[in-house]
Amino acid sequence: MPQHDPYIVVPRDAIDKIAASALSGGALVLRRVPADNMYVVRTVETAKDMRLPADIPGEYVALRSGDPHHAAQWIRVAANDAQIHHLFLSRRPQAFIEFAKFKEMVPGVSDPGNGLGIVITHDPDLPPELVEAGALEFAGWAVRRSGVHPIHIEVEPEVIGLEQLTGKWPIEQLAANSVMVVGCGSIGSAAAEALAGFGVGRVELLDPDRFLWHNMLRHALGTESVGRYKVAAMKDHLARRWPEQTVVAHQLDVVADAHYARPIVDRVDLVLCAADGIAPRRVVSHLARRANKPAILACVLDNGSIGEVIRLRPTPRFGCLLCLRQHLAAQGAMDAEADQELDYGTGRVHQPMAAVPPDLRQVGTFAAKVAVATLLESLHGDHTQRIPGEHAVIGLRPTGDLAAPFNVGEVGDVRWSSIPGPRPSCATCSAE
């Protein structure tokens, strides 16, 4: 069908009303949305002279707008003639049926006069082989005296959202899992969105700050959230986009409120830390290790030139964040994170934000991927989700002058390495 043809959208409630009607046909009222050349079914005649509105949830803003009262018809057809013709004509641009022949095939169709009539034909007994061939239970027609053209009709499916991935992605397993996201800034908000998209069933957000103007550049939230606490705004944001997910908001600082964070760590399967600064990351490393939970730490280093994602596993083979940092410092690879304590990310004039929004989004999404892969490999035995190491360095704007393992040379390069075992004196790794 030509792309400039009108498009009919039928909400699920209208479908149900037509399918349940004892009539063989009836009137429809459509809304027309001129900008999108779209017709939306709003009212269905379900019994003689009884017209009921089709329910369209409020969030479908475009489907609830437009010019009302474009009269149309729905007609139940038998023997699938109409639906087969619709299928064949749809594959032949400019093809049409003469109005008189269409009227023979679809009895009850009204004469459109000099205007445009729109008809939806419904064949409830369409044989499976025709469905397989592409014929539709509901078909749309633009009816003019000069000829009748097939037009596209889009029926709201019974299954929407993540459930569509059933059998293709382990949504049932992940729905039972939970992740605590510490820090809901630019990386954390991207990670939280990605966790929702992967289908993690429960996310507990933890951040003490408000969402302000300087955050808008790089954050998943927008103008509607300025002034709100980040966790509350993110909870609402995720609820709109991913209603299947449970989001719990904790307006807490993981350092100052570590005693409140500890029981949250205990009840989740994994901790993802996207908080700025050394102290929050060290606290997360310690809390997660003591709770015997894996932790994924994500940040950008060196003014946003590289991203870093660390997977901390609370096992004898792998040390904690401090063990890794001291190892890297001893190698001459890291400046003990001193630069990161300089208010990075606050947007103040003396320390302007350097990282680019999509780069931060990439790091957040990458961290969420590592988190989900860890859950799937360790808890659900998913061999397609094994990752090649515990420490990833991602080239964002690599300068090429950093010591290994941070010496990625190209944008998009991901350098994986392992991390050292616990230091004998480490209070996090060895404390009982």
Binding site: R313, T315, P316, R317, F318, E377, S378, L379, H380, G381, D382, H383, R386, G421
Partner: protein, 321 residues
Amino acid sequence: MSVTDAFNTFQEVVNADITSVREARARRDLFKNAFGAEDDVKEVVASGSLARGTHKDPIHDVDVIVVFDQDAHPDWGTPGDSAADALNYTRERVNTLLGSTNGTYDKAVRLARWRNHAVKCFLDDPDDPNAFTVDAMPALRRDGKLLIPEALSEDWVSCDPEFLIAEVAKRHAAWNKFAGTVRMLKWWAAEQDTKIKSLVMEVLALDFLPTDVNQPAAIKQFFVSACYYIEGGNEVVDPAYLCGPIQPDVDYGELVECLRAARDNAIKAFQAQANNDTGSAIKYWGEVFGDDFPKPPASTANPAPAILPATPRPVKDTPQG
């Protein structure tokens, strides 16, 4: 032969012969009844893999726990000689009740010797290749847990074998192939070149053998997750968190290597099955479980090998919209 058929056939190989199982249950009941009538015995608890339903072929022993009345043995349960005393006393009662010469209840036990925790009772002809023992372990019940003697340390230690029995029962109620699959995993462990205790596999299965997928998928998932766990340097410990490591002397490096090999072959088998290549799937499962796993059917119509060597397949273009 489908992959399911191959697993069903292998399950028959792994399962203990029903005659042996009946004999094992009869011996367990013999000890339960003999000791159950004793005045100083509060209960006799069936334990071990037979009680859990995870015994594989061949059966090496049957475990019973004789829970004595603390009031009748007030010195027991404290460090010192009482651990050996309890084992000696149990051995003497075995002899009195079930000794082959003078047993008052039955004349069944030819020889009884105590080990670290239990009295090992020999009922069979030593030359019988299917011989298996009954291990009778004295115990006291305290705070819902069992206190058992440990001869080597001259002390008593807490344990909770009923916890593992209950956990396995729970899994098996959720999936009636659980116990049978554990038997397969124990069979796998016995096939490895390094010593891996059966109980190590049972405990790993509790954590990593899922109960909501089919048997090949569950085994594949088990090896992926168990490998991840052991690669991290974790130990396998008593699931009741009372007795510590199950096998302190296990070579974890060797165990990881064994698990990796099994994991990689299980993944290949799983992917072959997903690609409808049943022959390769069965072949790879044979790589996991050894020569006793059924062989893929040989082709009769084509002189070419039944199993083509696996080659990387081309990528598919699948637009997602």
